[in-house]
């Protein structure tokens, strides 16, 4: 589904990603972790072309992301993305947030879009909030709406960029629960997160990044059992002691 091959990226002389390669098969959930500044968010943004890269190739559902002939809007319409800061559109109601791209990008009717939106809102437990505005919802609720918004587009895969790191601790689980359920239903997912509990529960593989490189790419048992690299061990010991 997602194939990242020898991707490198630099801003001027600053190297952000160096020769990153990995694969995400259909139905797999992959967790990407690593210290801040390791390039994990940049890597996931390369997957749907939000960040350009200079070398290598990324193939998504058989389409080359870096090819200048590829229509990025068309590609992105079927790749869901969830951001650290939710990024709901504050000037639209919740249902407006859920329908705008269905109508404008996919060309669905407003009724059809609203039906779909309400169904997915119900799924994340927020149907009663349909007519509120994002500012009236808690962070956890907003992030669940953001997930529903991405699902409205019938994505072939979902990208999560630190979906819980801007949340208060008591709201993290309500978001993770939705994500766990998604993974169990077989959604192809690439998740940048420090939530190792989530990784243990549903990840097929864990990728560890540092200084723009993929240091470790291993099955979860292997990763949590005996990470081979010293840096991954240090990182794990730091975040797991809490």
């Amino acid at each position: 589904m997602i194939s990242i091959r020898h991707v490198s990226k630099h801003y001027g002389s600053f190297q952000v990603l160096t020769d990153c390669s990995t694969e995400v098969a259909k139905g797999e959930a992959i967790v990407v972790c690593g210290p801040s500044g390791s390039g994990k968010s940049t890597l996931i943004k390369c997957v749907n072309g939000l960040e350009p890269f200079q070398q290598g190739e990324i193939w998504l559902d058989g389409i080359s992301v870096g090819d200048p002939k590829t229509s990025l809007p068309k590609l992105r319409a079927h790749v869901g993305m969830v951001f650290q800061n939710f990024e709901l559109f504050p000037h639209m109601s919740i249902i407006g947030n859920l329908t705008v791209a269905q109508v404008k990008v996919l060309g669905r009717t407003l009724d059809e879009s609203a039906d779909k939106g309400l169904k997915l809102l119900d799924r994340v437990g927020l149907k009663p909030q349909a007519n509120k505005f994002p500012g009236q919802l808690s962070g956890g609720q907003q992030q669940r709406v953001a997930i529903a918004r991405a699902l409205c587009m019938d994505p072939v895969c979902m990208l999560f960029d630190e979906p819980t790191s801007a949340l208060d601790p008591e709201m993290i689980n309500e978001v993770l629960d939705v994500m766990v359920e998604l993974a169990r239903e077989g959604m192809t997912m690439m998740v940048v997160t420090h939530e190792m509990g989530f990784a243990r529960k549903v990840a097929n593989r864990v990728i560890f990044m540092d200084h723009g490189r993929i240091i470790e790419d291993a099955g979860k048992e292997e990763f949590f059992g005996t990470p081979r690299s010293e840096r991954a061990q240090v990182f794990l010991s730091k975040i797991l002691q809490h």
């Binding site: 809007p73 951001f83 990024e87 559109f89 791209a101």
Partner: protein, 225 residues
């Protein structure tokens, strides 16, 4: 001691009202065109295409570095002849109003574009990313997500600029166009009551602009900004 004599004002009111309509016409058209063209300029300035960026920057810097009176005079001297040639109008037809409107609109666009550029930049970058991630094109992202938020942030500044613009319309007197100020001047000149008419005109400008600025303030508070 100067003796005030206001008697020439009541009879001149219809003429003054005509002048006020011209002032308002110039103001409203310049606001409309200024916001449209200003938005385009702001988008050009923020675009990754260098050539567009340079053009917009040159345009804005040029108009912001030249006094408005001079722009109006240029347009007064050049545009009528141009319009005559382009549209095949009979020579000597009165294009003062259209040249004033064009001059104002182009001049104000430079100011509006800077306000709008700041407004666009006030919208967090993640908003555009989220719109792109949903498959929106650049145009849809701007139209549906970024600009509505930008304009909401800018409303007080845009209105303040509109008030300044309304005051500045009085400068069209250089083209002998009878806007409100020009009309007041003409009446005062004719009746030898220039002081009274100009005081009256000043009071009207004050009343309109001050109440408009109070409205802006209230709006600002109401918006919770």
């Amino acid at each position: 001691m100067y003796e005030f004599d206001w008697s020439s004002i009541p009879g001149a009111l219809p003429f003054l009202w005509q002048g006020m309509r011209i002032s308002l016409e110039i103001t409203l058209t310049a606001i409309g065109v200024g916001i449209l063209w200003g938005t385009l300029l702001a988008l050009m300035r923020l675009s990754k295409l260098r050539l567009l960026g340079w053009f917009a920057a040159a345009y804005v810097n040029l108009f912001r570095a030249v006094p408005l009176v001079m722009v109006l005079l240029w347009f007064f001297l050049i545009v009528p002849q141009l319009l005559e040639k382009l549209l095949g109008l009979p020579s000597g037809s009165d294009a003062r109003l259209s040249s004033a409107i064009v001059g104002f609109a182009l001049f104000e666009s430079a100011y509006y574009s800077e306000i709008i550029r700041a407004g666009i930049q006030s919208v967090p970058k993640g908003q555009a990313s989220a719109a792109f991630a949903l498959g929106m094109t650049y145009g849809q992202t701007m139209r549906l997500v970024v600009l509505p938020q930008a304009f909401r942030n800018m409303v007080p500044l845009l209105l303040t600029q509109a008030i300044i613009l309304f005051q500045d319309t009085s400068l069209v007197y250089v083209s002998a166009l009878a806007d409100f100020f020009g009309a007041a001047y003409k009446v005062g000149d004719r009746d030898g009551r220039l002081v009274e008419l100009l005081l009256f005109a000043g009071a009207v400008y004050f009343a309109i602009c001050y109440s408009a600025s109070l409205l802006v303030k209230r709006f600002h508070k109401g918006a919770g900004a």
